[in-house]
């Protein structure tokens, strides 16, 4: 009964969709180099992506830093290891928590707005209108948005990490009387190339995934307002899941190349 289970379980639809996303990504790579480039729209999208999530990322980062430090400090104190707090918090934020949490926030904020925007352009036939005027909507709408998220998510992560470290410093400063300079000295002494590189590289993939899924869902949105809502919603769900998969792969790969 393998086939009936295969059909019933929706596994087939899932595989079909995976294939479609793959083709969508291939189309992105075949069109990204092709002239003419939509520079203005790319800059505009970068501005939107950055501006849209800056406050949210900052808030999340700050709270992340505060909470992480507040919660780990008592345990570290029990071991008499509070001097290692900056190093420990720094490594965990920069290597893992920062990128993943901030990318998830961005998947919610940016992924859904790309899905909804392209979805409503699709159902009101604006994308078709671009096509019939002999212009390339994929290039104008999709390529620019995917590039924008790929470039901007890493910057947002760096910003979020910085704010999180600052939040951690605030707690350390209040509870342990650690100076600004001492705190960041300890953080950066602990961080090696093998911590920074994989953590930064994977954020580009996170950004790419968020843009890709948001655009794919919006661009292929079904008719009607229900379709737009579903596009925005599934964009977030699928992008978030993909982020965890990518993170897992990134950790495996980093483990091989950087010998953590």
């Amino acid at each position: 009964m393998a086939t009936t289970y295969f059909q019933r379980s929706g596994l087939r639809r899932y595989l079909k969709e995976t294939g479609e996303v793959w083709l969508f990504a291939r189309r992105f790579f075949s069109e990204v180099y092709r002239r003419p480039f939509e520079w203005r729209e790319l800059l505009h999208q970068c501005y939107i992506v950055g501006n849209q999530s800056l406050f949210l990322v900052g808030m999340t980062g700050l709270i992340m830093g505060l909470v992480l430090t507040l919660q780990t400090r008592p345990t570290m104190e029990d071991f008499g290891a509070e001097a290692y707090m900056p190093a420990m918090v720094g490594v965990s934020i920069i290597r893992e928590i920062g990128p993943v949490v901030i990318a998830l926030i961005c998947a919610g904020k940016i992924g859904s707005s790309i899905g909804a925007e392209l979805g409503s352009m699709k159902v009101t036939e604006q994308i078709a209108a671009m096509e019939v005027s002999g212009t390339n909507p994929f290039k104008y709408l999709v390529v620019t948005r995917i590039l924008a998220t790929t470039l901007m998510i890493p910057l947002l992560v760096i910003f979020g990490d910085a704010v999180a470290l600052f939040g951690s410093f605030l707690v350390e400063n209040m509870k342990g009387d650690v100076s600004f300079q001492l705190f960041f000295n300890k953080v950066f002494r602990q961080l090696s190339f093998g911590d920074l590189m994989p953590a930064t590289i994977k954020t580009f993939f996170f950004g790419f995934a968020i843009g890709l899924i948001g655009c794919y869902k919006g661009y292929n949105s079904q008719k009607g307002t229900v379709g737009v809502g579903r596009a925005a919603n599934t964009a977030v769900v699928v992008a978030s899941m993909l982020l965890f998969v990518l993170d897992f792969i990134a950790v495996l790969v980093a483990d091989i190349f950087f010998d953590l």
Partner: protein, 259 residues
């Protein structure tokens, strides 16, 4: 493009020129089980306004979308300006699309752009269409021809439905197409605004010398604008003729449209 022109074979010819701009023969299109176009044929000649009428859901929009390759037909001959649409590559298709304007049923203005940017969008990507004129003067001239020069800085949502339709027409006209496809140009508009749109269509077509394929179920629109009509029933040409001829038809299914 002369290779694809052919002699008209219809007896209801009122067009001035003899060239067939769009030639469709035995077009079939289905969605799954549902057969939408069932051997449809038409020829659009230079300078004429051909109106296609049909019930809602009879496949009128599908037909137009096949002509600009938003949909792929299952089988049949489909030539625009002498070029076989299904065989063209993407580059050739995009060049051809600049010669064919398309006015969408719901206007389909780009709602994140101003009126100016809406008109600029196709123009900037086809600089060869500017013919020495600068962008600004072309935009203003085209907006003036639909009587909306003052809306140039507004967003689409600030315009009424009728004005949106006119801006959409301006956006279609800005590339100076040889053929304009209208998908229900008067749908969703009150009778007075609808009449204005029809008069505008006649005016701009004279001015820019475009031929038109108009899809509608508004018989007032058909009466005013058509040189020739085709009645689309069951995915086929059910009847053809001028408005006057068809309105005298004794066929009950044709008569139903004129009541």
């Amino acid at each position: 493009m002369a290779s694809g022109t052919r002699k008209p074979n219809t007896k209801h010819r009122t067009a001035v020129a003899m060239e067939s701009l769009i030639h469709i023969e035995d077009l079939y299109k289905s969605f799954g089980e549902q057969q939408v176009l069932n051997g449809f044929s038409l020829d659009l000649y230079g300078g004429e306004n051909l109106v296609i009428v049909g019930k809602s859901g009879s496949g009128k929009s599908v037909l137009l979308k096949c002509i600009v390759r938003l949909l792929e037909p299952d089988s049949g001959v489909l030539e625009v300006l002498g070029q076989p649409i299904p065989q063209l590559n993407q580059y050739e298709m995009d060049r051809l699309r600049t010669e064919v304007g398309f006015l969408f049923q719901g206007s389909a203005l780009y709602d994140s752009m101003t009126v100016r940017e809406n008109l600029e969008f196709p123009l900037r990507r086809h600089p060869e269409k500017m013919k020495g004129q600068d962008v600004e003067s072309l935009i203003v001239e085209t907006l003036e021809s639909v009587g909306l020069a003052h809306t140039i800085g507004l967003m689409p949502e600030e315009l009424s439905g009728g004005m949106q339709r006119r801006v959409a027409l301006a956006r279609t006209l800005i590339l100076r197409p040889k053929i304009i496809l209208y998908d229900e140009p008067t749908s969703g508009l009150d009778p007075i605004t609808a009449k204005e749109i029809i008069e505008l269509m006649l005016k701009v077509q004279r001015r820019y010398q475009a031929s038109a394929l108009i899809i509608t179920h508004d018989m007032d629109c058909a009466r005013v604008i058509s040189n020739r009509m085709i009645i689309l029933i069951d995915g086929r040409n059910h009847a053809e003729g001028t408005y006057a001829e068809l309105s005298k038809s004794t066929d009950p299914r044709v008569q139903a449209f004129f009541k």
